[in-house]
């Protein structure tokens, strides 16, 4: 959280006419949400073919106030569809969802008063307005009174660090990606909503900007009790920010729990990591012949090839694997045994696609 502004003054700058907040235990509830997209694909000069894509196949989950929940999944898993339904930008085909106690279909207008959304880092503002003007524009659209809006905008520009970067009065079209992300977060916080829906808020950002956003999100949940839905493909970040993770694959929730709970649900497999000068022919096949799973080799920045072998007790197969390499004239430059990471959890559940999560 270094470089973070204190949030103490945040409470002094809250809009005065925000919705009276009641204590809602479940800030977000999704029950059996189904969404099917019907698309037309061209099939010849005059013909088109209808394609049906099951984006969500009845997902259910609950998110409490004060909780940051990571919505993870591979591309096309249904994360953005879920976020869009929760932010009233997409109607579900069946099932129901509520945000802060309001139904997203029947009470969409009320839902819109209690959410702050961030759907894309790189666009979503008017290029020829400055950052400050953009916030004033959207604040007006959100029904904020002029005087209050000005104070709030000044405060938020400071909070997200745009003031210190000199971005408040610069045209949006001149912004860097990091500045755009900060402005997007400021917009999401304009009305001080109790629920934040953030779709890949740090995508493509430089480390200082990403850190700033992560820090703010974490503090807003911890100190202000906001419920935050956070999607990302960055497992390091998810582990750092999220209290709980909901893993979606092919429109279904395949796992749910805290990062530690999810890791503990993995079969007791650990990774033996070998750093080799080259991958000799036949090495991978020989290791696989021991009944072990071998990941595709990658190349480390130092030029060495990294071979990962999954095993229940890596200590027991260590000698065999090293011998297989040295017998082919390759020295093992480094080796280590890795504990499961969130990435392993992600790969495990998305490849298997079975619901077998932690408690959550």
């Amino acid at each position: 959280m270094d470089g973070m502004l204190s949030l103490d003054s945040f409470y002094e700058h809250r809009p005065v006419n925000v919705l009276e907040r009641e204590t809602v235990r479940d800030a977000i509830v999704a029950e059996k949400l189904v969404k099917r997209y019907i698309t037309k694909k061209r099939a010849g000069l005059f013909r088109s073919r209808t394609e049906v894509v099951d984006a969500l196949k009845g997902i259910s989950f609950r998110i409490r106030a004060g909780e940051v929940v990571g919505l993870l999944g591979p591309n096309g898993a249904g994360k953005t569809t879920t976020i869009k339904i929760l932010s009233t930008l997409l109607l579900p085909d069946s099932g129901r969802a509520s945000v802060w106690g309001y139904d997203v279909v029947r009470e969409a207008q009320k839902v819109r008063r209690v959410i702050g959304i961030m759907l894309s880092v790189e666009k979503g503002f008017y290029g020829r307005l400055t950052g400050r003007e953009n916030l004033i524009y959207f604040g007006s659209l959100y029904g904020m009174e002029a005087g209050e809006l000005k104070r709030r905008v000044d405060y938020l520009l400071d909070l997200v660090g745009l003031e210190e970067l000199g971005g408040s009065d610069r045209l949006y079209e001149e912004y860097s990606l990091g500045m755009k992300a900060r402005l997007a977060l400021a917009r999401a916080l304009l009305r001080d909503p109790p629920v934040l829906l953030l779709d890949e808020p740090t995508l493509g950002l430089d480390p200082p900007s990403a850190r700033r956003i992560r820090g703010l999100v974490r503090e807003l949940a911890t100190r202000d009790g906001k419920a935050v839905v956070y999607t990302s493909h960055n497992m390091f970040e998810v582990e750092l920010v999220c209290d709980r993770i909901i893993l979606i694959n092919k429109g279904e929730v395949v796992a749910e729990g805290t990062p530690e709970e999810l890791k503990s649900t993995l079969p007791k497999v650990r990774t033996l990591e070998l750093h080799l000068e080259r991958i000799p022919e036949g090495l991978i096949d020989e290791i696989r012949s021991y009944g072990l799973e071998v990941r595709e080799p990658t190349q480390a920045p130092d030029g060495l090839f990294v071979l990962r072998v999954l095993a229940r007790r890596p200590e027991e197969i260590l000698d065999d694997v090293v011998r297989a390499a040295t017998s082919r004239g390759v020295d093992v430059a480094r080796l280590r045994i890795e504990e499961p990471t969130l990435e392993d959890v992600f790969v495990y559940f998305t490849e298997r696609g079975t619901r077998d999560g932690g408690s959550g």
Binding site: K84, T88, Q109, I117, K123, F125, S140, L141, G143, E145
Partner: protein
């Protein structure tokens, strides 16, 4: 009402930034009324006889055409703004934030054309008033003021139909510049700007009567020609206002249908 005023103020900011922060755009905007006036007159003199026009219609062609054009273009600014906005918001990625705001679509879309319309009105007046002064002297300035006021009535009366037509077309065929291209010539033809409504054939006259601005155009033309009687002016303006009321449910329905369509497809991010 306070909300609508704030929205208009916000839209004003957007239009100001769009026009005044691009020198090329503001230059085009400033010379636009004069270029249009010159072009319309050139075309008129090239293809027709000013004397024949004056004999048949009863007024000098330049005056008739320029006054009508002023009303037409200020009214068209409304249609353009309403139809252009969803396309612009989608391309700039602002549409999800607009749709997910608590402001009702119809209220937002009423606020959208106001600033550009006022700007077009003011700029157009800088070409209109001198011309009226030349042809009619001080009386011309009075006529010009009435024309400006009637343009406000015309544009306001047109908002419900413009929104119903514009958003309705988007519901039927998706957001496209082609829809604007389709509507423009139809409006040009049926509003009676370049051919007086009272000289139109019956079918054209009936269709034209369904457009609220066409009645305002007729009033303006009658004033310019000197055929304005209190009764006809009152009837025409009453019809325009009545049509505004008639089209209002259509506007609400089109706005709702457009939003529903977006929500069914999912607003693009």
């Amino acid at each position: 009402m306070g909300g609508l005023v704030n929205l208009i103020r916000a839209e004003m900011m957007l239009v100001y930034a769009d026009l005044f922060r691009r020198k090329s755009v503001i230059a085009v905007y400033l010379v636009w009324p004069y270029i249009t006036t010159a072009l319309v007159l050139m075309m008129g003199y090239a293809v027709g006889s000013p004397q024949a026009f004056a004999e048949r219609v009863g007024v000098e062609a330049p005056l008739f055409v320029v006054v009508g054009s002023y009303l037409l273009f200020s009214t068209m600014a409304v249609v353009d703004d309403i139809m252009w906005r969803p396309i612009y918001d989608e391309s700039s990625g602002t549409l999800p934030y607009v749709v997910s705001s608590p402001t009702r679509t119809v209220v937002h879309y009423i606020s959208i054309p106001v600033p550009r319309f006022l700007f077009t009105l003011l700029l157009g007046a800088t070409a209109l008033l001198p011309l009226l002064l030349i042809y009619r002297g001080l009386e011309g300035v009075l006529v010009g003021t009435v024309v400006v006021l009637l343009s406000v009535v015309s544009a306001s009366a047109f908002v419900p139909l413009a929104m119903a037509l514009g958003l309705g077309l988007y519901v039927a065929g998706g957001e496209s510049w082609r829809a604007i291209g389709f509507l423009r010539p139809l409006l040009l033809m049926f509003m009676g700007v370049y051919y007086p409504r009272w000289l139109m054939s019956l079918p054209l006259y009936v269709i034209s009567s369904l457009l609220p601005p066409a009645h305002c155009v007729e009033v303006v033309q009658r004033i310019v020609v000197g055929l304005a009687e209190a009764r006809t002016v009152t009837v025409s303006l009453s019809i325009a206002l009545a049509l505004t009321v008639v089209y209002s449910p259509g506007m609400l329905r089109a706005a709702r249908a457009w939003e529903l369509k977006k929500l069914r497809e999912g607003v693009k991010t």
